[in-house]
Amino acid sequence: MIEDVVDSAAIASASTKRRSLWALAIRNSSVIVGGVILLIMLAIAILAPVLGTVDPTRIDPAARNKKPGTEITFRLDDGTTVKRVVLMGTDSLGRDVYSRVIYGTRVSLAIGVAVSTIAVAIGLVIGLISGYIRWLDGIIMRIMDGLMAIPGILLAIALVSIWRAGLITVIFAIVVPDVPRVVRLVRSVVLSVREEPYVEGAISVGTPTWTLMFRHILPNTVAPLIVQGTFIAAAAILVEAILSFLGIGIPPEIPTWGNIMAEGRTLFRVFPHNILYPGIFLAFTVLAINIMGDGLRDTLDPKMSKKV
């Protein structure tokens, strides 16, 4: 609806001062707070097997629907039994919610990273083409306008339902609605940068198109794309949880925060812990990414921060 106009002067000055900007970014308090929480989450994801977890898919009919803090008798594969306190209770199949939540961190972080990387990569290529090749610009932008007119979650729901649910299809279903936004951003940067004297200068001395694109235009898109990419990652984690929650996301046996909550829906009145704990983890992670994104935007892309 509103054309994203990027101030070319700000971009030009940003690219010459790039190094100092990065130094500024990592000293920003929001970036530090968000980054530290994310590092903790990353550590949880990597260290999941040694954080006192059991197999998150293990079904235990004898220990169904236990409240948090209950002690259950846990039967090992060799027949011996051990006592174990279930920190976050168990679900209606007797699976340990703590282990599922901890392992769920892996899926959510992977989805956030994968979706933002792929969406930015695809959007970057299409955006560069659209901004640089004039005759394709009209066609590409009409298609992007059409895609943007479909509310994102709706499009993701429709896509995931037609491509059978799985990790890869969910990732791509979340990527598609994000691509047009990246394309518009990249295109607006390209359109403003290509009028800059230094680009005209480079053209006049006969710089090949590819060199021009990669050396002179591409670097200008890095800062806004990193900011955009962070917000895409935050939204992607939320959308994955929504899809899984609606029962059309990642297959239910895979422990994701959305799946744990979906499973907890039916018995929510009696056992709210199945929704509460993954909800807290989810909110914390997304919050950390959003805080970090705000900090990055304030330092790397000050022009955008005025637009909220």
């Binding site: 609806m1 509103i2 009409r142 298609i143 306008d145 059409g146 895609l147 007119a149 479909i150 509310p151 994102g152 979650i153 709706l154 499009l155 729901i157 429709a158 896509l159 339902s161 037609i162 491509w163 059978r164 935050a234 939320l238 949880a241 929504i242 929650f245 609606l246 029962g247 059309i248 909550m261 929510f268 009145r269 709210p272 929704i275 509460l276 909800g279 989810l282 909110a283 997304v286 919050l287 959003n290 805080i291 705000d294 005025k306 909220v308």
Partner: protein, 313 residues
Amino acid sequence: MLDFVARRLVAIIPVLAVVAIFVFLMLRLTPGDPAAVIAGDNATSEQIDAIRSKLGLNEPIWTQFAIWIGDVLQGNFGESFFFKKTVAELIAQRVEPTLALATCTLIIALSLALPLGVLAAWKHGSLIDRFVMAFSVLGFSVPSFVIGYCLIYVFAIELGWLPVQGYIRIGVDFWGFLERMVLPSLTLGIIFVALIARITRASVLEVLNEDYIRTARAKGLSNRVVLMRHALRNAAVPILTVIGIGVALLIGGSVVVESVFGLPGLGRLTVEAVLSRDFPTIQAVILLFSVVYVLINLLIDISYTLFDPRIRY
């Protein structure tokens, strides 16, 4: 002005054409046979084939598209694969809860977000300001269904003030209707409050530095008049823009919130249609939501002139 509206309406047509073609091709060019879903697990291939030809799925794809566009232009959107009804009738049955939810959400969100945003800007840097900013980041980060279940747990189960879920038509029992709208619209409203409060704060903050605000104060106008009549009114354009963008959130959120609170609305219909591969219904719902989204944003562009006479089309 009329010229502008006409031009914008014409410009919508190619956008919607892209939506229609995209949605149609997306459903037809992917594996997964709705006829097999309808026929059930024990059906023979003859039975499936009979259903396919009855639904028109054996026609060439462009014929199918032409038939569908014909149905759309006639206003009935074709016949649902599952219910013995046209999709238009199906949508008509389901539209009330969604409209009610969207209206209540907007009312709640605006009546919370505008005062909060103005207050945060006025008391810039204060505790209230920090609270509003923190709330707005938090509002973006907690998924709506988690908020919904927390509200249900506190207000419906623990305190017992409001019903857990369900819907009563507005004409049947107005009080019952209102009771059942409070929690869903609060749930959906949180993200909206976050969005609008944040932009209100930012744009009022910018306006407060203007000369005419100083003049208004110098005239001896009360804070309330300065903030509401001078500051908020001049900050209206970015706020309206964000409300327009937020309509997409409202539509997406209604899918989730209707599932949490068991409201028989269009969002629920979308999920049902998707799960049962009811192509005509999926196509119609997506097309309809896109039309609503685009039209609301057009209305908002037009409404700019009401708030800012400098804008002329």
